[in-house]
């Protein structure tokens, strides 16, 4: 009967092993994904990303997401944060390529050590064979943002709603930001198609300095009839300077026309009150969600995106503003009722 006891013991062990294996197979894998960002708490757009990450965690409860950023725009600081993140061995990283030279080394190191990387918000603008070998890029296209904004202005001018662009001032709040230069290049090439010229004006980010620099330029270049702002928060400053110089900056068929990249309560109220022609949005919410989906599918199914995923620009104007009001309230705590900036 010894053999019977052995069979019973064997069956029992096999049963326990099978049960354990089944239990392990049913337990989903835990992942930790980190977004290393240049968009800090000084930039309200951070909330688009963190809100999207919260939604992602609700849908994928076995994934923990983290958002790390610095408040000052600094390439060195971003590199330091990225190095720290790589050292913590996450299961995936999303990072903006604010400077390909500075970030190439750390990102290649992460990829070589088996950490998948998705670029978001700002891509490596080199041809695909030369660029940093991240999995994919999720975000707006800085050049396209400027280009489409220029095309939008030309379309509206052809419809007689605004003047045809003659000289565009691209108001750059940070001279070293590659993405801002790409936006300026985009609008420069778009308006060049109707014979207009573009000035890349470094305004600084401080409100008083911005106004002083812009006024200096507009006073001596009265032929300027469009200003492209790099954030909606500078649009009222541009509007006020142009207004003080008697350049008729409201949306009509004469004088100055104000454009903006980025949309929030200030931009929405500017659109509603006729101070701002259009503000482009780069699909920020999607940029906080899609990178993690691809990282997740990479781990679960081995999927890899075969092309970049462009989330913007989305042109926001008076025709679709009501769709952005609820989003604005969710992200910024206020919608287009915030008109104080334009007074």
């Amino acid at each position: 009967m010894k053999w019977l006891a052995s069979i019973k013991t064997g069956l029992a062990i096999a049963g326990i092993a099978l049960t354990a294996t089944t239990a392990v197979a049913q337990e989903p894998e835990e992942y930790r994904f980190v977004m290393v960002s240049h968009i800090g708490s000084n930039d309200p757009n951070m909330k688009w990303l963190t809100m999207a990450m919260e939604e992602f965690e609700k849908k994928y409860p076995n994934v923990t997401t983290e958002y790390v950023s610095s408040n000052q725009y600094s390439v060195q600081e971003l590199v330091r944060l990225l190095d720290q993140t790589i050292a913590s061995r996450p299961d995936g990283i999303a990072v903006p390529i604010v400077s390909r030279d500075a970030l190439e080394g750390p990102i290649r190191r992460a990829i070589d050590s088996g950490i998948p990387v998705v670029a978001f918000n700002i891509p490596d603008s080199r041809p695909e064979r030369e660029r940093i070998p991240y999995m994919t890029y999720v975000g707006g296209d800085e050049y396209l943002t400027g280009y489409k904004t220029g095309q939008y202005a030309i379309e509206k001018a052809e419809a007689g709603e605004v003047p045809m662009p003659e000289h565009v001032v691209c108001a750059m709040i940070a001279a070293e930001h590659e993405g801002l230069r790409e936006r300026c290049r985009g609008i420069e090439e778009a308006v060049a198609e109707v014979g207009a010229t573009t000035e890349y004006l470094f305004t600084g980010a401080d409100p008083a300095t911005f106004r002083s620099n812009l006024q200096a330029y507009l006073s001596s270049h009265p032929e300027s009839n469009y200003i492209l702002n790099m954030g909606d928060f500078t649009a009222p400053w541009s509007w006020q300077v142009a207004n003080e110089l008697g350049m008729s900056p409201d949306v009509d068929d004469e004088g100055m026309t104000i454009l903006a990249v980025g949309i929030g309560p200030i931009g929405l109220s500017g659109l509603k009150e006729g101070h701002l022609l259009v503000a482009s949005e780069q699909g920020f919410w999607l940029q906080g969600y899609i990178p993690f989906e691809w990282l997740y599918w990479y781990h679960e199914l081995g999927y890899e995106a075969q092309s970049d995923i462009i989330t913007g620009p989305i042109m926001v104007d008076t025709t679709n503003i009501e769709k952005f009001d609820p989003l604005s309230k969710a992200v910024f705590g206020s919608g287009s009722e915030d008109s104080s900036a334009w007074q």
């Binding site: 800090g40 708490s41 000084n42 930039d43 309200p44 757009n45 951070m46 909330k47 408040n71 000052q72 709040i173 001279a175 890349y200 004006l201 470094f202 305004t203 600084g204 980010a205 401080d206 409100p207 008083a208 300095t209 106004r211 002083s212 620099n213 006024q215 200096a216 330029y217 006073s219 001596s220 270049h221 928060f233 500078t234 009222p236 400053w237 006020q240 110089l245 929030g264 309560p265 200030i266 910024f332 915030d338 104080s340 900036a341 334009w342 007074q343």
Partner: protein
């Protein structure tokens, strides 16, 4: 007799800045007469000079005491944000008092860290620069509202931000502060003690001067003036952002140095600091007007700073030899 007077005038710490302003007027009048002398150009330059000059006066006082304050740009930002944010609960007078109290408090804390902690002011105020800027981000979450219409019409807002006798209030306030504080420095005991502390602290101590108290007053005054500059800015144009005061500390220091303040302490001029602010603002404005790539002006401010230092040093040596 004339030679002696010239020599005495050349020994003034702000002589270099006065010559610089005269040269600037001459050069820009030659290059761009109609643009430079237009009302909007000089009005804009004077308006921004008033804001930067107010900060530079405070910086000059600290430099005279052989210290430095790198946090003024952030203090300027925080005071402005505090004014705008607290106005909803405290009203305009309450918000101004609270915002100025915050500015003064930061100056006092930094002074205590320098004096009691025996830490170089460059390190303490560099920490202050980042810490205060961080406070702005945490407090605002990245977005700042503007003053409502009724608060803009308040008499106190108009007093600091409107026009007085047809001139921008900020210009008159800065000019008034410069005159009053110059009198304090050149005619009152505090000025003597400040310059003595900055010139040679040990000698000042041996003569019974409480150098710690002098430095505390200098730091508090510097922060208060940076805060007041923010009130002047926002009372006039209340649309702002968390970037308020971004990098202004460097321009304030540059203005004080161009104006004749020696970083080794004991020598300086408040008029010079304001003229230094005028030179920086005027050069930047005119460079942009003349079509120079705008990003060049940062390099140009650096060049002006170096040239001014060499010029000031040469003047001191020349005046010394003449004497």
């Amino acid at each position: 007799m004339i030679t002696l007077n010239t020599s005495a005038f050349a020994r003034r710490p702000d002589f270099g800045a006065i010559v610089g302003v005269i040269m600037m007027f001459a050069v820009f009048s030659l290059i761009d007469f109609s643009g430079w002398w237009s009302g909007s150009t000089l009005g804009n330059i004077l308006q921004f000079t008033a804001i930067l000059g107010c900060m530079s006066i405070g910086q000059a006082i600290v430099i005279m005491a052989k210290e430095i304050d790198l946090s003024v740009g952030s203090v300027y930002g925080l005071t402005g944000i505090a004014f705008i944010t607290l106005e909803a609960d405290l009203g305009v007078p309450g918000a101004i008092i609270a915002a100025m109290a915050i500015a003064g408090g930061i100056g006092f804390l930094q002074a205590m860290a320098v004096i009691k902690g025996k830490i170089p002011s460059m390190i303490v105020t560099l920490g202050g620069l980042f810490a205060v800027r961080g406070l702005i981000y945490v407090w605002t979450g990245g977005s700042v509202r503007s003053l409502p219409a009724e608060s803009r019409a308040h008499w106190l807002t108009q007093l600091f931000g409107g026009e007085l006798f047809g001139i921008e209030a900020a210009i008159l306030w800065t000019a008034g502060l410069m005159v009053v504080l110059s009198l304090v420095i050149w005619r009152m005991k505090f000025g003597n003690r400040l310059l003595a502390t900055g010139g040679d602290e040990n000698t000042a101590l041996s003569q019974g001067i409480r150098t710690d108290r002098v430095k505390i007053r200098a730091f508090v005054l510097c922060s208060l003036l940076a805060g007041f500059a923010a009130i002047l800015t926002l009372a006039d144009k209340p649309q702002t952002h968390v970037t308020l005061g971004d990098l202004m500390e460097l321009e304030a220091i540059a203005a004080a140095v161009i104006g004749g303040c020696l970083l080794s302490g004991g020598r300086g001029s408040l008029l010079g600091a304001v003229l230094g602010a005028f030179i920086i603002t005027g050069v930047r404005y005119e460079l942009i007007s003349l079509g120079a790539p705008a990003s060049w002006y940062i390099s140009f401010v650096g060049l002006v700073l170096i040239v001014a230092l060499i010029f000031n040093q040469s003047l001191i040596r020349w005046a010394g030899n003449r004497a």
